[in-house]
C-alpha cells in the first residue's frame, strides 16, 4: 500500500475511505494524513520519496520524508518491497527443507539464520547436538557475524562518504566467504547446519583458513580504526546523531548492537546461552549515548570479541561426531544402509516425508549480527510446521527510525539507516 501524495491524487473529503480496490485495506484518508504534518498538505514543507530505488536505502526500503529545507520533519518507512513469503513457504516444506529458506532471510548472515532455525527445531524435537558440532556452529556463527558486520561497516562508511572503506571491508569479507564455501559449498546460501548437527564435518584446511583470518583481521580492524575512529569528519557526522534513549530503545523492541549502543546490556549469547556459548569467555561492548557513533563503536568492538570467541572455540574444538546419532532425526551414514534394514527404513522415511516432531510450540532466539533473531514454530506433530514465524531484528530496529530521525538532516538519514544495519530480506521476509 503506497502513501499517496496529497497534492496530486486525493480528492475525497476528509474522513472518507480510500476505495477498497485501491488499497485492499481499511485505511482512512485521515490516517494517511496523520503520517505527515499539516504543513506538508499546504505545500509549506516538501514531501520526498527516498527509495525504493536509492543508493543508500540498503535494498528496497522506501522512506517518505517530509522536509523543511534540508531538515527532516518526519520520516515514514514503507516496507514490503522484498516480501518473499518465506514464513508461508516454510509451512509446505519439511523441517529439513526449511533450512534452505532460512538462508534467504538475512542473506548477509545465512549461517546465523540456519542456526536459529535448527536450534528451534532441536528444542522442539528435544535432540542433543554433539559438542563438536556445537563448537563448529559457534565458530561459523561468529565468522558470519563478522562478515555481516563487515558489510555493515563498508556500506555505512560509504553512505557517509568514506568510499574506500567499502572496498577494504569487502576484501576481508571475501576471506570469510571462502571459508563458508569451503565448509558448505556455497558462499552465501550455505544451509550447512542440520537438525541435530552439521551436514558434514569440516574439511582439513578449515582450521588453517580460520587461523589465517584470526591472524590477519586484527591488523585490518586496526587499519579501519585508523581511517574512521578519530576522523573529525566521521565524528562530526556520527556523534550526537540519531540518538535513542535506553527506555525508547527497549520500548521499540530494538535488539543487538543498535540496542547496546544505547547502553542496554542485552545479548542473547549471554542472556540465554545456546550452542554452548557459555563455554567461552567474551564481553559485550556497550555504548552510552545511543547515537550513530556508539552503535558504530559497538559493532567494531564486537568484531574483536568474535575473533576472541573463534580462537577459543578453535583451540578447544573436540573430536567426535558432528551430527546426532538419533536415527529418527539424522540420516544414517551410507555404509550402514548397506547392511542394516532399520537404517534403510530410516533413510527411506527421512527422505520421503521427513522427521516428525512432537505437538507444541517453541521459541528459540539467537544473537545475529543485527540483534535477537528468533524463530517461533508451532507444530501439529506432522513433518511440516503448522506455522512458523521469524522474529527479524531488522524489522524491530527499523521501527525506531522515525523517532531517531526527527529533526535530523537528509545526510543524517542515510547515516542513521546505516547505523541500525537493516537487511531488507529480513525486514520483509
Amino acid at each position: 500500500m503506497a502513501v499517496r501524495e496529497p497534492d496530486q491524487q486525493i480528492k475525497e473529503s476528509p474522513g472518507s475511505v480510500v476505495s477498497a480496490q485501491d488499497t485492499q485495506m481499511d485505511i482512512t484518508l485521515d490516517q494517511l494524513r496523520q503520517l505527515v504534518s499539516p504543513r506538508a498538505l499546504s505545500g509549506e514543507t516538501m514531501l520526498m520519496n527516498m527509495g525504493p530505488q536509492h543508493p543508500s536505502t540498503h535494498g528496497v526500503l522506501r522512506l517518505l520524508l517530509e522536509l523543511d529545507g534540508e531538515t527532516v520533519v518526519s520520516c515514514v518507512p514503507d516496507i514490503g518491497f522484498l516480501h518473499t513469503g518465506i514464513e508461508k513457504t516454510a509451512e509446505i516444506k519439511t523441517y529439513t527443507q526449511g533450512i534452505v529458506l532460512t538462508d534467504r532471510i538475512d542473506y548477509l548472515a545465512p549461517l546465523i539464520c540456519n542456526l536459529a532455525y535448527v536450534g528451534a527445531v532441536e528444542k522442539l524435537a528435544d535432540v542433543d547436538v554433539p559438542l563438536r558440532a556445537q563448537y563448529i556452529r559457534v565458530i561459523l556463527a561468529e565468522l558470519t557475524r563478522m562478515s555481516s558486520h563487515l558489510v555493515w561497516l563498508g556500506t555505512h562508511a560509504l553512505d557517509i562518504g568514506a568510499m574506500s572503506m567499502f572496498l577494504y571491508s569487502f576484501r576481508e569479507r571475501e576471506m570469510l566467504l571462502d571459508i563458508f564455501e569451503m565448509v558448505s559449498g556455497a558462499r552465501m546460501m550455505t544451509s550447512y547446519f542440520r537438525v541435530g548437527g552439521l551436514w558434514r564435518d569440516i574439511p582439513d584446511q578449515f582450521a588453517d583458513a580460520v587461523r589465517q583470518v584470526l591472524k590477519l583481521l586484527p591488523q585490518r580492524l586496526l587499519e579501519y580504526e585508523k581511517i574512521l575512529k578519530e576522523n573529525p569528519i566521521w565524528r562530526e557526522r556520527t556523534v550526537g546523531v540519531g540518538v535513542i534513549s535506553q527506555a525508547d530503545a527497549i520500548a521499540w523492541g530494538m535488539s543487538g548492537p543498535s540496542l547496546r549502543g544505547s547502553g542496554v546490556n542485552y545479548d542473547v549469547r549471554k542472556a540465554m546461552p545456546y550452542s554452548s556459548y557459555d563455554h567461552f569467555d567474551f564481553s559485550v561492548p556497550l555504548g552510552t549515548h545511543g547515537d550513530v557513533y556508539d552503535r558504530y563503536r559497538c559493532r567494531m568492538e564486537e568484531m574483536t570479541q568474535s575473533l576472541k570467541i573463534i580462537e577459543q572455540a578453535l583451540n578447544k574444538l573436540p573430536d567426535g561426531p558432528v551430527i546426532t546419532d538419533n536415527r529418527k532425526i539424522a540420516p544414517p551414514p551410507k555404509h550402514e544402509i548397506a547392511y542394516s534394514m532399520e537404517s534403510l527404513i530410516h533413510h527411506f522415511k527421512l527422505w520421503t516425508e521427513g522427521f516428525r516432531v512432537p505437538v507444541g510450540e517453541v521459541y528459540h532466539a539467537v544473537e545475529s549480527g543485527k540483534g535477537e533473531f528468533g524463530v517461533f514454530i508451532s507444530s501439529d506433530g506432522s513433518p511440516k510446521p503448522r506455522r512458523i514465524h521469524f522474529r527479524a531484528p531488522s524489522f524491530y530496529n527499523l521501527q525506531a527510525l522515525p523517532q531517531m530521525s526527527k529533526g535530523a538532516l537528509i545526510a543524517d538519514i542515510v547515516g542513521i539507516v546505516g547505523s541500525i544495519d537493516i537487511v531488507l530480506g529480513e525486514v520483509d521476509r
Binding site: I160, E236, R237, I410
Partner: protein, 333 residues
Amino acid sequence: MAPILEYTLKSIVLLLIGAGGFAYMTLVERKFIGRLQSRIGPNRVGPFGLLQPMADGLKLIVKESITPAQADKLIFFIAPAISVIPALIIFAVIPFGNSPWLNLAANINIGVLYVLAVFSISVYGAVLGGWSSNNKYASLGGLRASAQMISYELALGLSLVAVVLMAGSASLNQIVQYQHPGNILGWLIFRQPVAAVLFAITAMAELARSPFDLVEAEQELTAGFMTEYSGMKFALFYMSEYVKMIAMSALFTTFFLGGWSGPGAQDSWLLSLIYFGIKMLVCLLAIVWTRATLPRFRYDKLMAFGWKVLLPIGLANVMVTALLIVLRVPGYR
C-alpha cells in the same frame, strides 16, 4: 591580423588540451583511486586501459539525451554549457611555461580577478541545472551548490588577496616571477602556508569534490543536480568537474608552488613546461587521494566551517600579511 590568428590558434590548442586532459584525468583518477582501494582500475580497453576514456566518450555520445517532460527546456539545455565554458576559459590566464607560446593572456594585470569571476559563473551551471530539472533531488543539489559556492568563494578570494599582497600584482605571470624561479624557498607555500591551506580547502569545496561533494552526494541525493541529466549533457557536467579540477591544480601550482619555475626553467621552455606538469599532477593526485580517504561533510557543518572557521582565518591572514609587508619584515618586502 597576426595577433588574432595567434590567439585563435592558441585558444583552440588550449581547448583541445582541456578536453583531452579531462578525458585522461578520469582515467588517472580511476587508476589511482583503484590502487588506493586495493583494486586494479580500468585495464580492459586498450593497453593499460588507455582507450577507456574514448570508450566512455563514445558511449555517452550515442546515449539518448533525455529531457524530463516538466523541465524548463531551455535552461535545462544550456546549464551544462554554462558549467563547462567557464571551466575551460580559466586556462587563458595560466602561464604554463617560460615562453610566450605557453601562455595565452597570463600577462593581463587582472588575472586573479578574472579567475575568481569566471569560477563564480561556473556555479550557475549546477544551480540552474538543478532547478530546471523539476526534480526534488536535483533542486536540493542546486540549492546546496549555491549555498556552498557563496560560502567558500569568500575564503577563496581572501586567500588570494594575501598572494596578491605578497606579489604586488594580480597578474599570474608576475606572481610566478615573484616566487624567485630556481629557489624553492621562494615558493609562496612556504611564506604563505595559511593562505595555501585555505586555498586548497576552498578550492576543493569550490570544485565540489569529496569531502565537499554535497552537491552531487550520491548516497543522499542520488546524483544531486545531475540526477536528470544523461548522454552528452551529463558528460559536459562531468567534463566541467574535471576541467575545473585541472584548472584549480594549475592555479595552486601557479600561486603557491612557483608555477613553472625550477632548475634551468629560465632558459628552457620545455623544462618549465615539464615542471609545471609535474607540480600540477601532484596537486591532482592529492585531490583524488583526499576523495579516497575522507567521509563527506554534512550540509550545516560545511556552512559553519566555511563561515566560522575559514573566513575568520582568511581575514586574519590578510591582516597579518599586510602588517608584515607594511613593517617591511624580511621576506615580506
